[in-house]
């Protein structure tokens, strides 16, 4: 089995599915943890952290097992947030804790949510950004990750520096939505397929 997109009831799975299809992949949308067998996993998602982890909980043991067996895992937006242990958005809710740090509200004087296109600054030679160099990506969020380990792959600027992407071994996360970021976003997804 190839690429699995986890459908845990949070937001628009269809766009992510369509983007991978467009790139020639044949993703499987997985709704039950028992169906999750893949050599690549995508955790999309829009919505609140608390609802997200609550819905994702049945999948978490399998996702962690996949991470330990070096399966590339890509978390998008809320999917990225859930790599961390917790979020100010939903105090008390526990994330996957595969990356050290916390998700906090963006402390900026600018308008929130941060909705729109913003250029990314690449901080690490992450395979996801092969062929890219500071392109604009589409962001929609009010929270972002503050890391306790050096795995920030890209940042963006919105009144302050914001975590735009993380990369730790085979775990990848984007705060922006590559499936909604035009050609540059498709390139990120294509790079994930190439891993």
């Amino acid at each position: 089995m190839g690429l699995a997109i986890i459908d845990y009831g949070m937001g628009n799975i269809k766009s992510v599915y369509n983007a991978f299809r467009y790139l020639g992949a044949e993703p499987t949308v997985v709704k039950k943890p028992s169906d999750l067998r893949a050599d690549k996993i995508v955790i999309p998602g829009v919505g609140a952290f608390g609802d997200g982890v609550k819905n994702l909980t049945p999948f978490i043991p399998k996702i962690k097992k996949a991470i330990n067996s070096e399966v590339p895992v890509l978390g998008i937006c809320l999917g990225l947030h859930m790599f961390f242990e917790g979020s100010e958005e939903s105090p008390g809710a526990r994330g996957m804790k595969v990356i050290q740090g916390r998700v906090v509200k963006i402390r900026t004087r600018l308008r929130l949510p941060h909705i729109g296109w913003n250029s990314i600054k690449i901080k690490k030679r992450c395979p996801l950004f092969r062929g890219l160099n500071g392109e604009n990506m589409y962001f929609v969020h009010s929270y972002h990750a503050l890391l306790k380990e050096d795995v920030i792959a890209a940042t963006t600027s919105y009144g302050r520096e914001i975590t735009a992407a993380v990369w730790k071994d085979n775990v990848y996360g984007t705060q922006f939505h590559p499936e909604k970021s035009g050609g540059a976003g498709l390139k990120v997804l294509d790079n994930f397929l190439e891993l």
Binding site: Y22, P113, W117, N136, S157, K180
Partner: protein, 274 residues
């Protein structure tokens, strides 16, 4: 750098085959501009930052048609898609989200049932809930005429702004500026602000309206109604705090391409995605 967004709007008449895009003049006369998903694809390729689909038929029998339009579009268009017109319940919203939409925009339903804004924000997140406000100038000769309303001075005289519903066919007595503040409190994620005085006229955005609303609320505001020249887009970004500008006819009738608009704006120092 954070970019200003350029958003083409497709007013879709789903009563005709394949959801043709139409453009009204001040919400009344209608011309046909093309098949909706083909136009959407072209705008995407031209550099649209987002695409808005408004169902101007808004009759319940046609709801399935918008689903098809969005499904077809989302197969090969990878920017945010926003759908409005005829969405009045959580179920209506869920249907278009499942088809591939990212946001819904509501006007009539929000005014008739303001709780819907809270509900959409709760179920799908604020980012998915855009409130559209269609505002019409009501000129006054004395402040007594506008008790309790937010009065705005314009070059044409002082006025307050009244919200209209049903695509401009009915007026509500509701103060558009106060309504904008209310929907922000209720959890809306963006405001799509249309000047009914300017819509379809090519006279430029209503700068006074747009300025006041974008300063009163902290939400992203999308300016709409009246764009006929490149300068109009520059002017609305320069003089108000909006983060996006919406236009329909200048793109439909190929007066300007989205790429040209962006090049022009970039040349004037406005940050856009090219």
């Amino acid at each position: 750098m954070f970019c200003k967004r350029i958003i083409p709007c497709l007013d879709c008449d789903l009563a005709v085959p394949r959801g043709r895009v139409v453009k009204g003049i001040e919400f009344k006369q209608i011309k046909y501009a093309g098949v909706s998903w083909k136009l959407a694809k072209k705008y995407y390729e031209d550099g649209a930052d987002e695409i808005v689909f408004l169902d101007i038929t808004a009759s319940h029998e046609r709801r399935g048609t918008m689903v098809e339009v969005i499904e077809r579009t989302s197969e090969d268009v990878f920017v945010p898609l926003t759908v409005g017109g005829g969405i009045s319940t959580i179920e209506d919203a869920r249907r278009v989200f499942n088809a591939g939409a990212d946001k819904v925009t509501i006007n009539t339903a929000a005014i008739k049932n303001p709780q819907l804004v809270n509900k959409l924000a709760k179920y799908f997140g604020s980012q998915a809930c855009v409130v559209a406000i269609d505002a019409k100038r009501r000129y006054i000769t004395s402040l007594n005429e506008a008790k309790g309303k937010t009065v705005v001075r314009t070059p044409e005289g002082s006025c307050w702004y009244e919200c209209s519903i049903y695509g401009g066919r009915r007026f509500t007595g509701l103060d558009a500026i106060k309504w904008a503040e209310e929907v922000e409190r209720r959890g809306a994620g963006e405001i799509l602000l249309t000047s009914m005085d300017r819509d379809g006229t090519t006279d430029g955005y209503d700068i006074q309206l747009t300025k006041v609303v974008s300063e009163k609320v902290k939400l992203p505001v999308i300016a709409s109604g009246g764009c006929g020249e490149l300068e109009h887009i520059y002017e609305v970004f320069k003089k108000t705090k909006v983060t996006a500008a919406l236009a329909a006819s200048i793109f439909h009738y190929k007066i300007f391409r989205i790429g040209d608009v962006k090049k022009y704006l970039a040349g004037k120092g406005i940050t856009v995605r090219i």
